[in-house]
Symmetry: C2
Subunit: 234 residues, 2 copies
């Protein structure tokens, strides 16, 4: 630790990013106790299939820092710290196609611009993984790019777009698995919620699967969530 201890000792440097490469970070991804990141049967009306988003995400919507909060109030404890870190030093996002919309196969309607409204909550370039590319477009301060490439290539593009900041890996579970399998994820926060889905799209059988490569803090919250904070061993 460098600590200023008097005028004779100059502070030799600060942590202003120069020592740290760009990270790929999964920020508060929520899974059920049985390991599913989303339910079965995604549709336009049910982005999470049979899973009830109100139940899955109650922990973060209760926090003051949740980026889609529309009213004052909310808690400012542990869950809030982990929620409000969402966009800290993030310069781009990578997401799977199913986080953008429920369509499968070729796009049939370019007019439809995703689930995220006219002012998407990303505020950065977003790289949507798809085998069916379409032209980029911008909504407010978010630009969506559609890319058909392997995880390492997409990550390279996203890091360039992030201009020195980190890249968020936004999900869904299949996309996170692909990047984990390619060993490209640096940090991963998974909130395990006290909900059983029984079926759906799985992130893991158990968090222990990651312990060969990651260190982890397991932190229970009074909301009933068990936070798993993974970071890659150096």
């Amino acid at each position: 630790m460098i600590f200023p201890v008097g005028p004779g000792l100059t502070v030799v440097g600060h942590n202003e990013g120069e020592h740290v490469g760009q990270l790929l970070r999964v920020q508060h991804f929520t899974v059920s106790r049985d390991g599913f990141g989303t339910g079965e049967g995604q549709s336009l009306e049910r982005p999470f299939g049979h899973a009830d988003p109100a139940g899955m995400f109650a922990w973060r919507s209760a926090t003051a820092g949740w980026f889609m909060r529309t009213e004052p109030g909310g808690t400012r404890g542990l869950d809030d710290y982990l929620t409000r870190d969402y966009d800290r030093n993030i310069g781009a996002e990578i997401m799977g196609r199913n986080k953008f919309g429920p369509q499968r196969g070729p796009w049939e309607d370019h007019e439809w611009q995703g689930w995220w409204g006219d002012r998407p909550p990303f505020h950065t370039p977003v790289f949507v993984l798809t085998h069916h590319v379409r032209p980029s477009f911008t909504l407010a301060d978010t630009t969506f790019h559609f890319v058909d490439a392997d995880p390492a290539t997409v990550l390279e593009q996203a890091k360039e777009a992030a201009e020195g900041k980190d890249v968020r890996l936004g999900g869904g579970p299949t996309t996170i698995r692909e990047f984990l399998d390619a060993d490209l994820v640096d940090t991963l926060h998974v909130a395990v919620v006290p909900v059983e889905l029984g079926s759906g799209v799985r992130l893991w059988e158990s968090p222990d699967e990651l312990l060969d490569r990651f260190d982890v803090d397991v932190v229970p919250s009074r909301s009933g969530v068990i936070h798993h904070l993974f970071w890659r061993r150096s």
Copy 2:
């Protein structure tokens, strides 16, 4: 919770600060198990008096996000989330005179510009509480102002300088007590470390003293620290 569930439903708003007033936040203030924020006998050479800063602050200097880290590496678990939130949405700091320097009484040497080096780690205006005002000065992107006023007045000045962002209350313990006694603190993160100081400047006899006005999450960390995350009841 507002969650986008289809193109027919517009996202009506986001948490971009418009619903939330400016907060006064104490960010990762460290105290000993027996409640002292600093030791006895502060001097130029020993900013924490008889307390050993290496022991008191080991928990945060181990993290990747500690703002004075000068080398790569560090942990990225719970302690890191709580450390790296330090400057998130902070537009000004208020500190007591003893966090600026060890002098008591009238300033005898205006050449001496504080403990924080040529590039102070604040990057915002800093309001130093003192009965002995002196001219403001700027080091890199930090400007120090010296003010002789009651807590409410200083907070008003700092909020104006923060231009809509929050204000950090930087300590030391006496300063935090003054703002707590004036009921001006909105959130307070205190890291209780497994160190006994026996004497020094006290923050509290017990964290329970704050429970009449604050809600709290008490979160043990594997570093041995017990994090106390307080927020004022609305």
